[in-house]
Amino acid sequence: MGDTLTLLGLESSCDDTAAAVVRHVPGHAPQILSSIVHGQAELHADFGGVVPEIAARAHAEKIDLCVEQALADAGLTLAQIDAIAVTAGPGLIGGVLSGVMCAKGLSAGSGKPLVGVNHLAGHALTPRLTDMAAFPYLMLLVSGGHCQLLQVNGPEDFTRLGGTIDDAPGEAFDKTARLLGLPQPGGPSVEAEARAGDPKRFRFPRPLLDRPGCDMSFSGLKTALLRTRDQVAADKGGLTRQDRADLCAGFQAAVRDVLVEKTRRALATYMEASPEAPMIAVAGGVAANQSIRAGLEEVAAAAGATFTAPPLRLCTDNAAMIAWAGLERFRAGQTDDMTLVARPRWPLDTARAGMLGGGKKGAKA
C-alpha cells in the first residue's frame, strides 16, 4: 500500500477535545493539514487550575465542532478522508467514550473505515510524524499521568524498558505546586520558581536511583518536600520567597536526576541492539522543562544518539498524533469495526503490565 493517505483524528481522552487531519505521501514528510485543540485551561483559569469536563455530552458537543473545524481548515470534506482514527483509551472514560461514539457515527454515516488508537501510541509515534524517525527508537514519555521508557519497534510494537511505579513526574510537579501555593498546572510554575532557587540547599531523595533497572518512583519525593516545607516553616515561622524557590529548585533537580539516570540506562539497553540511526525522543508536557531537557540532551550526546523533542503543541494532547498513529495502523491494514470499545486503561506493552502502581520496590525507597 504505497498510496497517499489522509486521515481524520479525534482525541478526547483527558481535559482537551481535539480533531485533526493528517496526510502522508509515502517517501515524504507527513503533513498536518489542520489541528484543532479545544482546551479548557483558559476557560477554567478562574478556578486556579484545569477543571475536568465530566459529562460525555459536553465532550460530544465540542468534538463535533472540532471535527467540523478541522475539516474546514484542511479544506476537505469527509468524503475526501480515507479513514477516521480515534483515541479509544486510556483516559477519562466519559471523554474517551464520547470520542469513540462520535467516530463511530462519522464512520457509519460516511462508510469510511474506523481505526482505534491507543493515546499513548499517539505520543510514542509522534517522532515519526515530526522527524520521520526510523524504527527502532527510544521514547521517554513524561506527562501528567504517564512516565515510561519505551523502545518503539513498530506502529504496534512497543517494549517497555521501565517507568514509574507510582506517581508520574507531571503529577509530582502539580502536587508540589499545590503544597507551595503555586498556580496549576504545576510544571511551568514550579520551573519558573526554581530559576531563582538554589538546587543544592535542600537535598531531596532520588528514589530507586541505587537500584538496577529503569523503574522510577516519585511518590516519596512529594512527601519529602512536604516534610521539608513544614520544617522550614516551623523553624522560621513561615516560608520566604527564597525558601519556596529553593524548594522548587531542589525538587526539580531530584526529578531531573532520576529521569536522566534512568534514561541513560534505557539508552544503554537500546544501543546494545546497534540501531542504524540511534535516536531518543521525548514527549509529554514534562519535556518542556528546560532543565530536564538539557539533562536528557547531554545523555543522548554522550551515547551518540540523536535527541528530538517534538514541538510542545504536538507533545501535549492533540489529535494530529492520533490521526498519524491511525494512519500507520491503517497503512498496515488494520481497522476496527463497530465493536471498538473505550478502554480506561490500555498498556502499550501488555507483556509488562502491572508495573505502574505495582509499588514493587521492597522497603520504602
Binding site: 483527558c14 481535559d15 478556578f47 487550575g49 484545569v50 477543571v51 475536568p52 465530566i54 459529562a55 486510556p90 483516559g91 477519562l92 472514560i93 466519559g94 501528567g144 499521568g145 504517564h146 507510582d166 506517581d167 508520574a168 503529577e171 502539580d174 502536587k175 499545590r178 503544597l179 511518590s219 512529594k222 512527601t223 519529602a224 518536600l225 512536604l226 516534610r227 480506561p344 486503561r345 498498556p347 503490565a353 502491572g354 508495573m355 505502574l356 502502581g357 505495582g358 509499588g359 522497603a363 520504602k364
Partner: protein
C-alpha cells in the same frame, strides 16, 4: 446510628499496605471507603495496595488524579478508585456516576470532602502524618454496623 471511631498506628508503608489488604479482603459491592488526609499522607498508597490485593492478574494501577476515576474488575467485583481533588461542585460528581457506583461497586474515594453528601454506609479513613516520616495514624470512623465485625481485631 451511633458513630464509632478507632485509630490504628501504622509504623511503615508496609503496615499501611497490610491494613489495606486485610480490609480489602472483607469488601463487597456497596462498600465505600472515604480516604482523607493531606497530600503525601498515604491515601494512594493504601488504595493501590488494596486494589492490587484484589486483582486476579497484575495490572497497571495509575493515579486517578487526572482521569478522576479508574475502574477495575476484581475478585470481589467491580471497584472504583476515584480522586475528587479536581472537582468543584456536586453536579460534576453526579455526572461521574459515582453515586450509582456507591450502590453497585466497591468504591475508594480520595478527597471525599468534595462529596456534597457522603454515603451513610461509608467507612472513613483519615490518614495523619506523624513525626516519624515512615509512620502514619489512620483514624477509622463509621456509623453503619456492617463495619463492626469486619474491623474487629484489625489493629491487632
Amino acid at each position: 446510628m451511633s458513630q464509632t471511631s478507632r485509630t490504628i498506628h501504622l509504623a511503615s508503608p508496609d503496615a499501611t499496605c497490610r491494613l489495606a489488604e486485610r480490609l480489602g479482603a472483607t469488601l463487597a459491592a456497596g462498600d465505600v471507603l472515604l480516604l482523607s488526609g493531606p497530600v503525601g499522607a498515604g491515601k494512594s498508597h493504601f488504595a493501590r495496595c488494596l486494589i492490587r490485593s484484589l486483582l486476579r492478574t497484575p495490572e497497571d494501577i495509575p493515579s486517578p488524579t487526572f482521569t478522576l476515576v479508574q475502574t477495575y474488575e476484581t475478585s470481589a467485583g467491580e471497584l472504583w478508585h476515584a480522586d475528587l481533588y479536581r472537582l468543584s461542585d456536586g453536579g460534576e460528581i453526579e455526572e461521574l456516576g459515582l453515586a450509582e457506583a456507591f450502590d453497585t461497586a466497591i468504591a475508594l474515594v480520595e478527597w471525599p470532602d468534595r462529596l456534597p453528601e457522603p454515603p451513610a454506609q461509608a467507612l472513613s479513613i483519615a490518614f495523619a502524618p506523624l513525626d516519624d516520616p515512615e509512620a502514619r495514624n489512620a483514624t477509622l470512623t463509621w456509623t453503619d454496623p456492617r463495619w463492626d465485625p469486619r474491623l474487629e481485631g484489625l489493629d491487632a
